[in-house]
């Protein structure tokens, strides 16, 4: 079984990871059970403690800087995302119910300057949830995205306008200079 070694972290980052994991697990225990007597709370502490000991380095890979700033900007990005989701579904409903079914699929590739895991996952999820595009694969070394688009207009919105990449780069404090027209196979 291929297991990569544990990430090398010093004690400060490990404590931060343990605290965040234990806090989130205990919060879920309280919210999902609804019982607040002593027995269930102690059972919650024990169960959360065991799970935290086994897996505390999976969720938080060390403490990156500007954590609070990134979280605030992420909350500010979510309403725009929800509006794009509604637009995407109206677009798909139009293409499905139209009697002539106007689709013209094509494959696209482009590069981004994002490197951390969480920002790549956010951009991939956003591309899947916006009108007309789904991510096929992501390479974390150079930030290459391969995307399948269902027609020419959503593909152009992703390649030429590049609004979504600019907004995600703004959330994670990365400068986006705007790449010139990348290659499409």
């Amino acid at each position: 079984m291929e297991i990569r070694g544990r990430a090398k972290m010093n004690r400060g980052e490990k404590t931060f990871g343990i605290l965040i994991t234990f806090g989130i697990l205990f919060l879920f225990w309280i919210l999902l059970s609804g019982l607040f007597d002593v027995f269930h709370l102690i059972a919650g502490v024990i169960c959360s403690g065991i799970v935290t000991l086994m897996s505390h380095d999976l969720m938080v890979k060390g403490k990156d800087e500007k954590f609070i700033g990134k979280s605030l900007r992420l909350f500010w990005y979510i309403p725009w995302e929800l509006w794009q989701i509604v637009l995407a579904n109206i677009d798909v409903a139009y293409r499905v119910l139209h009697p002539k079914m106007p689709i013209d699929p094509l494959l696209i590739e482009f590069e981004t300057p994002l490197r951390s895991d969480f920002s790549l996952v956010t951009l991939a999820n956003s591309i899947t949830l916006t009108p007309g595009t789904i991510t096929i694969s992501v390479e974390p070394e150079k930030g290459t995205f391969r995307v399948h688009a269902i027609a020419k207009e959503p593909a152009d919105a992703l390649l030429v306008d590049q609004t979504m990449q600019r907004k995600v780069a703004e959330v994670f404090f990365v400068e986006w200079s705007g790449t010139d027209q990348p290659t499409k196979p």
Binding site: L32, V92, V96, I103, N125, T128, I136
Partner: protein, 109 residues
């Protein structure tokens, strides 16, 4: 009370419309990648709208237990993150195996 019932009916109707459109798209589209477009987006939003309508129904009719809507809200968040991730994983597996995408003018697969 009529306002709350009307809003719940609106959310349920919208959710059912998108769910049915997702299933019709599964049948109508000519290729695997385009079918994933239809279901990966419409199915997620349809189920989430149905669940949000039911959360509103619970908050107004059964206000004695306020912790049950938290469970349903967690279910909505989970579906928003899990369904696109599963769609992406399936698409990547199909691309690596070598399923060819459809171009305008081919026959249905």
């Amino acid at each position: 009370m009529v306002l709350v019932n009307g809003m719940v009916t609106l959310f349920l109707a919208g959710g059912l419309f998108f769910t049915l459109v997702g299933s019709i798209g599964l049948l109508r589209f000519p290729d695997f990648y385009t079918r994933l477009h239809a279901t990966g987006k419409c199915d997620t939003l349809g189920t989430s709208l149905i669940l949000i309508g039911l959360i509103i129904h619970h908050l107004f009719h059964y206000s004695g237990t306020p912790l049950v809507p938290v469970r349903l809200l967690f279910l909505v968040f989970f579906i928003f993150i899990a369904n696109p991730a599963a769609t992406h994983a399936l698409m990547k597996a199909a691309y690596e195996v070598g399923v060819k995408p459809w171009k305008l003018g081919d026959e249905r697969r």
